[in-house]
Symmetry: C2
DNA sequence: AGGTATAAATAAGTTATACTTATTCCAGTG
DNA sequence: CACTGGAATAAGTATAACTTATTTATACCT
């Protein structure tokens, strides 16, 4: 014998009305149904909750105690329902976004706009490199990821939404910086500053070099885009980066873009989530927002 | 479709184990039974509570929210059960006692002893005259009443437990105070201080006078035993009171007892409760205590 | 790739539970 | 003393909560 919410509901009505019949009416039930529920509740707690003296129904002390708990339980059920309904809307809840580090340069802009549209959504932004991001996906940590082309192996529902041109950068005073249509083989003697393995940009670069059967004479490996940019600025060597990461530096002419034949390497950004994941309305809204924003940007 | 406690129970187990199968084992159920309960809960809140990605089961945000409420609800159920069990014992709960005003003189002694035996019982003592007491019984306010002989009309389960001798008192310097075996008719010229109507002592007195075909020449009506005693002490007249109310004054010889023929009027005290009332274990214990204490006193 | 193991979903059938209607019982009331 | 209002009881029915058997899906393992 165990307590049920129905019993508590019926009990609460009887306690309020102090009448089985009126409680039954209120609940659109018959009077015997109410009697049964109360009797079951009483037998499962092992005490009388009501006593009938003459015609009137009184609550026992046990009844009063039970009523207090019944009320709080029902109140919690109510608020649970309310909070669930909240979550059904787009303008609430939590949105966990993980982005590959390169994406960060425009993800913040994207998020700023989205936050303005849906101010009460609580957003978590997690910036890591591609490899760590795949691990996080494994743990179902992010709702939505923004990254380069996802690997085939992983079960990811991903759509591309934006160009991601990879370009080669150098110090503005580099000897080739004014040249046009440079062939890769001209760079054989150059040192390349490259991202850590596990980075999407690194993978894209390697594939490009493989295709062109090119192998740089020297590479220096570094973690993070900022570090790479600073190294190139310092004259440590050349680097391949997403154009999004260096817009500012190019404009200020602190870095210059080399006009390599076959470049920019045209890649795309993807918005994705684990296949089978039940996206919350908020997450769906964000996904759609990213896709729309991508095409808008492309047109502009 | 409505939420049930069973659903919350099963949900909580799955949320903790993050596995339907293990939750089923824990609850001694089969796995499909768990699936069904979760599905029903999900459909009644209109949101997925879990999502299955690959083999692993994850909680959704809705699930996390629901879990918080489920836990508090189950905690309340638990404490409700505990408190109910408490009430099943003799040493807890509340005990509402109502006594006729005359009873008060020994009820306090009785309660003191009972409280020492059951210290954590919360006792309410309500002292009123017989008439008001019957009204309170009507409203099921007291658990137990101590009073003189209850009227036949009312549905009261009452047992007598102690003698209640009514005696006549006078000022010690009253002319009859040294006399023996006084006949009522000798008191025709006396003034009587009598309790208000509705008092048990008053009723008993009137019946006694009727039987003896005696009618006092003058009566002064007063409320409460204390007032009566003081009035007699002040020489206002004679009075009939329960011996229990004047023990102290007789011992100190501030009042004296007249030796009237046919007195003391031998009445009894009763411990009672409304017929059909479900006495709590505490109330039952008190009732028994009063009965035992009464006979003990009689023997002593 | 293909086979295997693990875990959840689905289907069908059974038992228990939550209701109903009809009736009885009980206490207060004219 | 019949009458009325209100709860209890009885019997029957629909729904919910389970079971077993089976299917489906995915990770794992050569």
């Amino acid at each position: 014998m165990h307590i049920t919410i129905r019993q508590l509901q019926v009990f609460e009505a009887v306690a309020r009305q102090l009448s089985y019949t009126r409680a039954a009416e209120e609940l659109h039930l018959t009077q015997p149904a109410v009697s049964m529920q109360i009797k079951q509740l009483e037998s499962s707690v092992g005490l009388s909750l009501f006593e009938q003296l003459g015609k009137r129904v009184f609550m026992t002390q046990a009844g009063e105690t039970m009523l207090r708990h019944a009320e709080t339980i029902m109140r919690h059920l109510g608020t649970a329902r309310e909070e669930m309904d909240e979550l059904k809307g787009v303008d609430s809840g939590r949105l966990r976004i993980a982005v590959a580090s390169t994406v960060n340069y425009f993800a913040t802009r994207l998020l700023a706009t989205f936050t303005r549209l849906h101010p009460s959504v609580q957003i978590t932004l997690d910036v890591t490199n591609r490899e760590a991001l795949l691990q996080k996906l494994e743990d179902n940590q992010p709702d939505i990821v923004l990254m380069g082309k996802p690997p085939k192996g992983l079960d990811l529902d991903a759509d591309d939404f934006m160009d991601n041109p990879l370009i080669m950068i150098a110090r503005p005073d580099h000897s080739l910086s004014k040249h046009r249509s440079i062939a890769l083989k001209e760079l054989t003697e150059e040192t390349f500053v490259v991202r850590e393995s596990g980075s999407g940009t690194r993978i894209a670069m390697e594939r490009f070099f493989d295709q062109k059967s090119f192998a740089p004479s020297a590479t220096i490996e570094m973690t993070g885009n900022e570090t790479i940019k600073q190294s190139v600025e310092a004259g440590l060597g050349l680097a391949i980066v997403s154009v999004h990461t260096v817009e500012l530096e190019l404009a200020l002419e602190r870095l210059s873009r080399l006009d390599i034949r076959g470049m920019p390497i045209m890649r795309r950004w993807y918005v994705g989530h684990r296949r089978g994941k039940r996206l919350s309305p908020t997450a769906q809204a964000f996904r759609q927002f990213v896709l729309d924003e991508g095409t808008r940007q492309a047109v502009a």
